[in-house]
C-alpha cells in the first residue's frame, strides 16, 4: 500500500500523483519506472518516474487514462492508496556529462523528462526541452519543465502557443543551427509515432539519440519477457535492459504491432467498466 499525498489534474485525462514510497524515493534514478497495481485482481502497469524526493520520501508519477487500470488509477484521490507499488525498475539514463542535451517530450511522456533534465542541468550540462502537444491546454508541467532546463521550447500543432508545428520540425531547426546550439544528445519520451519521427530526424547524424520504450509488462524484473523489444536485431527486455534504447536501433514496426496484442480484450474490459460506471451513477 502506498498513500497518495498529492493529486493534480494536468489535462482532463492526465493526472499527476505524488505517492508516499520512501524506499523507492531513496533509490530512484532518472529514467527508471515503477509498477503499480490499483485493485485486487488488477493489472500490473509500468509508469515512468516523473520526479522523486528522498527527503520527503515521495515519488511522482503521471498517468494518462487510456484503459481500465489507468482510469481506475486516475479516479483515486489524495489520502487513498495504491494497492502495490514496486520499484525503482529498469536501467537509469546514462548520458556522458558536459554536452548539450535536448529532451523531447510529447503527451504525458513529457513528465518523465522532469527529473532527468533537472539532474542534467544541476551537473552543468546544457539542457533544452522541446515540449509538444496538439494545442496549448494539452501541454503539461510547463512550469516545472521550464525550471528543469536552460531553455524550454513549446510546440503546438495549431500554433496556440510557441512554435507552430511538430517537435521534430523544431528539433530540425535547432540541429540546423537555430540559436540554441547543436545537441550532442537527444532523449525522446512520448507516443511511439513521435519517438519514431525523432529517430528519423537524428538518423545519419552523430547525435546520440535515445527513446524510452513503453511496452506491455507484467513483473518488470525480467521474469516473463512480455516487454521484448528488438534493438539492433537483438531481443531485449525493456524492463531490465531498458526502458531507454538507442533510437536508431529500435524496431518500431514490431513494437507497434506488439502493443496491439490485447486491443480486442482491452475493448471488452473498457466497455464493461463503462457499463459499471453508468449503472453506478444511474442507481
Amino acid at each position: 500500500m502506498a498513500k497518495i499525498i498529492e493529486k493534480r489534474i494536468l489535462t482532463p485525462v492526465t493526472k499527476l500523483f505524488r505517492i508516499e514510497a520512501p524506499m523507492i524515493a531513496t533509490s530512484a534514478r532518472p529514467g527508471q519506472f515503477v509498477i503499480v497495481r490499483v485493485r485486487e485482481g488488477g493489472e500490473r502497469i509500468p509508469l515512468t518516474i516523473a520526479d522523486f524526493d528522498a527527503k520527503s520520501g515521495t515519488v511522482t508519477i503521471v498517468v494518462q487514462e487510456v484503459g481500465v487500470t489507468s482510469r481506475l488509477l486516475g479516479a483515486l484521490e489524495v489520502g487513498e492508496n495504491l494497492l502495490d507499488i514496486l520499484g525503482p525498475l529498469g536501467e537509469p539514463a546514462h548520458i556522458p556529462p558536459g554536452g548539450h542535451v535536448i529532451g523531447v517530450g510529447g503527451g504525458f511522456g513529457a513528465a518523465a523528462l522532469w527529473c532527468l533534465m533537472k539532474e542534467l542541468k544541476a551537473r552543468g550540462d546544457k539542457t533544452t526541452i522541446i515540449l509538444g502537444a496538439r494545442q496549448q491546454d494539452l501541454l503539461i508541467l510547463t512550469d516545472e519543465l521550464r525550471e528543469a532546463c536552460d531553455a524550454l521550447e513549446l510546440c503546438t500543432d495549431d500554433g496556440s502557443v510557441g512554435f507552430k508545428g511538430l517537435v521534430t520540425q523544431r528539433l530540425q531547426q535547432i540541429m540546423d543551427g537555430d540559436g540554441l546550439g547543436k545537441p550532442n544528445h537527444v532523449i525522446a519520451i512520448g507516443p511511439m509515432p513521435m519517438m519514431r519521427a525523432i529517430a528519423n530526424t537524428t538518423s545519419g547524424t552523430d547525435i546520440a539519440t535515445q527513446v524510452s520504450m513503453d511496452p506491455l509488462m507484467i513483473d518488470g524484473t525480467g521474469m516473463c519477457g512480455c516487454c521484448r523489444v528488438s534493438v539492433g536485431g537483438k531481443t531485449k527486455f525493456a524492463c531490465v535492459d531498458g526502458p531507454l534504447f538507442d533510437a536508431n536501433l529500435v524496431d518500431f514496426d514490431e513494437a507497434v504491432k506488439r502493443n496491439k496484442i490485447y486491443v480486442k480484450k482491452e475493448k471488452i474490459a473498457a466497455e464493461r467498466q463503462q457499463k459499471h460506471l453508468c449503472e453506478r451513477t444511474s442507481s
Binding site: 533509490s27 500490473r44 507484467i218 513483473d219 516473463c224 531481443t235 506488439r258 480484450k265
Partner: protein, 468 residues
Amino acid sequence: MPAKRITKTPMRTRDAKLRATDFVEVNIGYKAEHAIFEAERCLRCQQPPCTDGCPVHIPIPELLHEVAAGNMEKAVDILRTANPLPAVCGRVCPQEEQCENNCHMAKQYLPVGIGYLERFIADWERSQPKKKKPKPPQRPQKVAVIGAGPAGLVCAGDLARLGYPVTVFEGLHAPGGVLRYGIPEFRLPKDILDWEIELLKDMGVEIVCNVIVGKTFKLDDLFDKMGFSAVFIGTGAGLPSFLGIPGENLNGVYSANEFLTRINLMQSYDFPNTDTPLYVGERVAVIGAGNTAMDSVRSALRMGSKEGMIVYRRTEKEMTARQEEYEHAIEEGIQFRWLTNPIEIIGDEDGWVTGLKCLKMELGEPDASGRARPIAIKGSEFIIPVENVILSIGTSPNPLLVNTTPGLETNNKGCLVLEANKPQTSRKRVYAGGDAVTGAATVILAAGAGKDAATSIHADLMADLAEK
C-alpha cells in the same frame, strides 16, 4: 505380520473431459480410510531408505505409523516439523524419483503412496481448527530472506522455529514464487498455498512484498542499515530462455513464464472479472516436454483452445515431465509431436502467429547429457498451423541481484557459487539455495536447500554470539 497388499491405493481424480475445461484441482485426495489403508502397507524398515530419498528428511516410517494408527494429530506434528510446506510438496514433489523410488516395496511391487499420504496429512490439518502454538523465545539476531519461493519460505520457517526474527522480501505482489506464478491452480490450488504461507506467518515469519533487493535497496543495506545478521538468497531461476529462431516476437508467442504468470498470478482465467488479458487461439503448440510445458499446454486447453500439443525434438523417453503429469495430459487429449524440432515461427503481416515450421528428427548417439542426440532429417520441413507458440525450454537465474551486489560469485550459467562445506556464498553471512544455485530444478530440492541453509545460518550465528 499380516501380508502386505502389493498395489498402491489409487488417487481419485476428476473426470478428464470435465476438468480440462476448468481450473479446479485434478487430484481429489485420499479419504481417512484410504490413508490408513495405504499407510498400513509400510514395512517400517529399520534403516528407512525412503527418508534418505527425501530432500527434507521427513521421518516417513514414523509418520506412516501414526497415520496407520489413526493418530492424525501426531502425524501432523512430525510432518510439519520436517517440512514447512507439506500440502504443497504432497502435490508437486516427484515422489517417484525420491522417497517412493527408494521404498523397499518398490523392489517387487508398487511403492507405498508416500506422496499421497503427505498430501492427506496436510489436508487433514487444514480441515481442523487452527492450533495456537507457543512461540520459541526470540533470539537477538535478525535474518533476511530474499525471495518468497519454496527455498526462501522453508528457510524462513525453520529459522522462525529456532526463534530468529525473519523477514522475507518478495519482488511480486504475492508470496510463493514459482508456486504462485508457475504451478497452475489445477495442480496446486492457491488457497492451499495461502494457507501454508499463513501458517508460516503464524510462526512469526514476516513477508514484505513489492521489494526487489538490488533495486529497491541493496543487499548490503540489509546488513549496514537494517540490522540483519545473515541473509539467505532464494531468488530462483526466473529468467526465461528463448530459442533464438525467427518469429519469436510475433503476437501469440509467449514464454511459459509469461503465459503461466498471466493465468496464475494475474488470474487471467477470470478475465474480464480480473483485469489482465491473455491471448489464446484455437491451436496451441508448446515447445519443450518438462513439467512446465505440461502445465502450459494443459492450461491452454482450460483457457479455451481446441487443440493443445507438445512439440519436442527428442522422444517420450527423454522428456523430463513427471509420469503423472504426462498421463493426465494424455487423458485430457493433449497431442504429442515427438522428434519434431521447431526452426521458425510463421506470422501474418500484422504480426500474428499462424504456424510453426519444424523439422523431423531422428535419434543418434548419446550427447553430453547422456540422452540420445536428435539429428535433423534433411528436407523434412513442414508447418504446423497454430495461433500460439509457448516456449518452455528452461529458465536461468535472474542476474538482477548479482549485478547489483559486489562480491557474489557465480558460475558461467549465472548460478551462485557456494562454499564446499556449507551453503554460504562468496560473501560472509550470505547464504543461498534452490534454483538460484542449481539452475531450474524441483520445488523439494529448493525446500531441502532452504532447510540446510537454515541449519548452517543457525550454527554460524550461534558461533558469532559466542565470540562476542
